[in-house]
């Protein structure tokens, strides 16, 4: 099975590189990042604000299965239509603080494109914690399900 999305994270460094090739022309790939209705669909979030320009800002809000709302926001440092977005990203009510993201959109052919997302965290420790989040979430989910089953048996 081919791994389409690659994550490169070196030990002891405070950044990660996420790359992905898409079977889409670059303008459509870019559109998926700037049209609020489309962002909402693939990111599974509500878009409260998305100012696609240099010195603009953005705000997302997601609702977890338990109904809790989580906010995400940042500022757009540089916006170059069709090729580049440099922005900050912060998960509100967390201890991680903001991270800096460099998004580059490249044309591979008329029908294929490539995205590279270079993310820089404040420290190596924070980077490693963020990387472990989905892993811990998965473990917790499995644990919750187990508890749910057990509570029904008792």
């Amino acid at each position: 099975m081919e791994r389409k999305t690659k994550v490169h994270a070196e030990n002891g460094k405070q950044d990660i590189l996420i790359t992905r090739e898409f079977d889409l022309p670059v303008d459509l790939l870019f559109k998926a990042y700037i049209e609020p209705e489309i962002v909402e669909q693939w990111m599974g979030t509500k878009v409260l604000k998305l100012e696609n320009r240099s010195h603009g800002g953005w705000e997302f809000e997601t609702t977890d299965p338990a109904g809790n709302k989580h906010g995400f926001s940042g500022v757009i440092h540089e916006f170059v239509h069709g090729s580049k977005i440099t922005r900050t990203f912060e998960m509100l009510n967390s201890d991680f603080g903001p991270q800096l993201e460099f998004l580059e959109f490249e044309k591979c052919s008329g029908t294929r494109s490539r995205l590279s997302m270079h993310v820089i965290y404040r420290s190596v420790t924070i980077r490693d914690q963020v990387l472990k989040l989905p892993f811990e979430y998965g473990v917790n989910m499995a644990h919750d399900r187990l508890q749910e089953i057990l509570s029904k048996l008792i």
């Binding site: 389409k4 898409f22 079977d23 998926a32 989905p134 892993f135 979430y137």
Partner: protein, 107 residues
């Protein structure tokens, strides 16, 4: 629809984890593997098939016998805590690609 087997799904099953442990020591034929379990030959073959599909096991033809051996490279990938993070982004990007293909065909 294409069936996507992923490594995490494969190792979620206790019998499949036991097969992996068994093959970590040495390569074995399907019948030698089946002898170690109470389950039927067919059940064990199905587990071997799933493990092979996600490349955790490799076939090694030795004369007339087929031996299964562990693919340590793939197993190493599972051990890395980064995999769930990668998978989260892979799922998101797959969704993005599907949505935009739909969008393109509607235009």
């Amino acid at each position: 629809m294409e069936l996507r087997r992923d490594v995490f799904q494969a190792i979620a099953d206790p019998t499949r984890r036991a097969i992996i442990m068994l093959l970590a020591i040495q390569a074995l034929t399907p019948s030698a593997i089946a002898q170690e379990f109470d389950s039927s030959r067919q059940t064990i073959s199905r587990h071997i098939k799933i493990l092979t599909e996600c490349e955790l096991l490799e076939k090694d033809q030795r004369g007339r016998e087929i031996y299964y051996q562990l693919n340590p490279q793939k197993l190493k990938g599972v051990a890395e805590f980064i995999e769930p993070f990668r998978k989260m982004w892979d799922d998101r990007f797959n969704k993005l690609e599907d949505i935009m293909k739909d969008y393109q065909s509607k235009k």
